[in-house]
Chain length 460, copies 2
């Protein structure tokens, strides 16, 4: 009998899973019935931008945390698919830091070409997954909002590819209840122009704070203050940007920090990370972890050790992204197709523990990058996913970090060679700081246009 | 064996259900085991204000749609509990239009007194309810965020009291994707001061548009534009407030309306209502309705005809609120206690159809108010809930409407006699338009203080 596989989510990971199977079918693999349940009305996961915040048109939590004018914050050369290069998709070499719409187009290009869309049911949040001991299957209950029905179906395997950058971690600080401005999590940030001319406080010191702050600076915020718990980001910020230690409380519109200093602010953006959140899973199947490079419980980072009929994709903290999801998806595919045999529980657990021990000893970014590179390399070796120059990707990550530390406002003007095609990316036609239009058309063709509502830069 | 009853939600309806049972136990009724699952960390439902928007600290959709400076938009005399008067709670008569904190205090007062809090499990969203034919019970699956476990328990009855003003109905209009200001639903509106000095567009013409607009006017918005689909609200608005027909599209920051006119706006608030949303219920148990006075499928407005072990509270569109929830809760209690026998399915259905036919013939507010008054009166007759002057409440609603139409900015300065105690409410110490402090303390004791960040009224 044909195996049935449920894939939860049609973002980069879920689409990688569909593409992995499609690629095997093309080469003659036995058929597997694939059903991908997607909560949103279109594919692309995070990359499917929406102006909505909070709950979507179906009353479901909005998935995407992306915002207008978001440009890749790492070189595209580090995330390129090994089986579908940027050059193949766009028909020409493009610059190294594309805006969101360009990356979305690239992700879609591969799956459109392989015709997997018919397997996806849109507007279908998964409500409940139940494992049935009696016949070792999974009962998956889904609400189909298009038909407004709740239905259950039986599957042999479930692949959880629902992401972990959608459910905000939202701490409370004293005085928030009576703060007279907007308080939002980065997840709900949409348009830097909303904060033009404002004094902005960003709580956090990771990618969200760095990038949302940079955007707001670029589009004319009056001042940026970022507040760190452990250590400052330490970049060479523009003059109207300062780093403060942890926020202690707000009183009216005054923010007070751990060093006793204070500042008047108009709005507060909590760049405080995301939760792994699986409201549709019972405890026996549910990954419980913070955001780290090696969550426990997943053999080779993907197979749920306690019940390896279930898989997770992309649940690690990420340097590697799209091509790591590919490596994982190809590996999961081969387990499901019976090409890779899983060892017994104890062996899986021991293997994961060994990775975890190594993860716990990592001391700097370089070691973390190489750790994840090694992980990806190991997966690729086990399948027919096209091999690529992992060491080259590692090196590109390290150069990127250097460029950021040299100048956080210009690093996106750099370019790198593709590890897939060898082609050196061209410089973009416009400096990132001057590129106000984030559309695909502006990026690919014309010199940058300014958006409709011309922003005025207060500084810079 | 002791019956087990699950109550979903500890807002006004769920608390009414707990109170109804408690009142019966005090009079010697046989024990029933009550478990109330509450998603939030405290009770009060909508009345439990939070600065949060979108998702809460547990990653669950924020329940409350209330905002700072919210004052009751109807006379408190229309919602007074028949078994616990405002005068009893506050120890003195208070004005007719209290702010949110005062009403929250009142709701809590009754249940604190009756000691029902021990039955409530906080931070426990219900994930899934399943009916088990074999023994006619309900399996209720809940995620307990405090212990981070997902657990299932068996109940004889389930009472759905999760409200229907929490899941926003969010339409899209052309151009929203590239609008350069904030777009939010009324559900996410928190503080009028965020919109001081702004040109504000509110889409909608019901209570949310009326009240959020009035607030933003009061706290200094530069202009208010409301956009209606069917007909204008028709109040005598202040000079900087205008009503427009339906929004057609936005382009940049310009909003275009159905009459061909346009306006520059800084922010858009969608006051477009709410969805009945029960992600935890299968189709066989799930109420599917728009917001109306007589949703079908509920005998006497509460018992799920297709499976009357399940009940719903407060699912109707509402003129009557707190005391209607009480009337419903007492009625549900008496069914569960075996004091009221339900007729067969066909009889229940015919009864509901008769109410629906009457509902469909209602032509104006007065008829709607009397319709709901008759419904409440019928429930109260059937239980020991203290009888009260329904016709007096109807009359108060009608006076309130007249006061609103006479002056939408001063109607909250009126006062009415209690239908429970007969006491005439005192005039408030401060006109609503001048009362900037919405705290319980300011309302009960001192003359109004101004909030920390002194708002400047642009008009008025």
């Amino acid at each position: 009998m044909t195996k049935r596989v449920a894939i939860i989510g049609a973002g980069p990971s879920g689409l990688a899973q569909l593409r992995a199977f499609q690629s095997a079918f093309e080469k003659g693999a036995d058929p597997v019935e694939l059903v991908c349940f997607e909560k949103q009305s279109d594919w692309g996961g995070q990359w499917n931008y929406t102006w909505r915040t909070g709950l979507d048109a179906n009353g479901e939590p909005v998935h995407s945390s992306m915002y207008r004018y978001l440009w890749s914050n790492g070189p595209k050369e580090c995330l390129e698919f090994a089986d579908y290069s940027f050059e193949e998709h766009f028909g020409k070499p493009i610059a190294s830091y594309p805006p969101r719409a360009v990356l979305w187009d690239y992700i879609k290009g591969r799956v459109e070409k392989s015709g997997v869309r018919e397997h996806i049911r849109f507007n279908c949040p998964v409500r409940h997954v139940e494992y049935r001991e009696s016949d070792a299957t999974f009962l998956v209950t889904v609400q189909d909002h298009e038909r407004d029905v709740v239905e259950s179906e039986i599957f042999d395997h479930v692949v959880v590819a629902s992401g972990h950058f959608s459910t905000p971690n939202v701490p409370e600080f004293e005085g928030f209840e009576s703060f007279n401005g907007r308080i939002l999590h980065a997840h709900d940030f949409r348009d830097a122009l909303e904060f033009q001319g404002k004094h902005l406080l960003l709580v956090g010191s990771s990618y969200s704070a760095e990038d949302i702050g940079s955007q707001c600076y670029k589009y004319g915020a009056r001042s940026i203050t970022t507040s760190y718990r452990t250590r400052p980001m330490g970049f060479d910020w523009p003059e109207n940007w300062e780093e403060k230690p942890l926020l202690k409380r707000v009183d009216g519109n005054t923010a007070y920090f751990a060093d006793g200093s204070s500042k008047q602010v108009d709005a507060i953006i909590l760049c405080t990370g995301y939760l792994h959140h699986f409201p549709f899973l019972p405890d026996t199947l549910r990954l419980q972890t913070n955001n780290r490079l090696w969550p426990l419980g997943l053999y080779r980072g993907v197979a749920w050790e306690a019940n390896p009929g279930l898989f997770y994709l992309g649940m690690q903290d990420q340097w590697y992204t799209f091509n790591m999801f590919d490596a994982q998806a190809w590996y999961v595919r081969d387990i499901i197709l019976g090409r890779i045999a899983l060892p017994d529980y104890e062996t899986m657990r021991a293997d994961s523990q060994a990775w975890r021990r190594r993860e716990e000893g990592l001391e700097d970014d370089e070691q973390m990058i190489r750790f994840q590179g090694d992980y990806v390399a190991g997966l690729i070796e086990a399948t027919d996913y096209p091999s690529f120059d992992i060491e080259g990707v590692n090196r590109t990550f390290l150069e990127w970090e250097q460029h950021k530390h040299r100048d956080i406002m210009t690093f996106r003007d750099k370019s790198y060679p593709s590890l897939m095609t060898g082609t050196q990316a061209p410089a973009h036609h416009t400096r990132w700081l001057d590129a106000m239009d984030d559309s695909l058309e502006a990026f690919l063709d014309a010199p940058a246009r300014r958006p409709t509502a011309t922003p005025e830069k207060a500084n810079g």
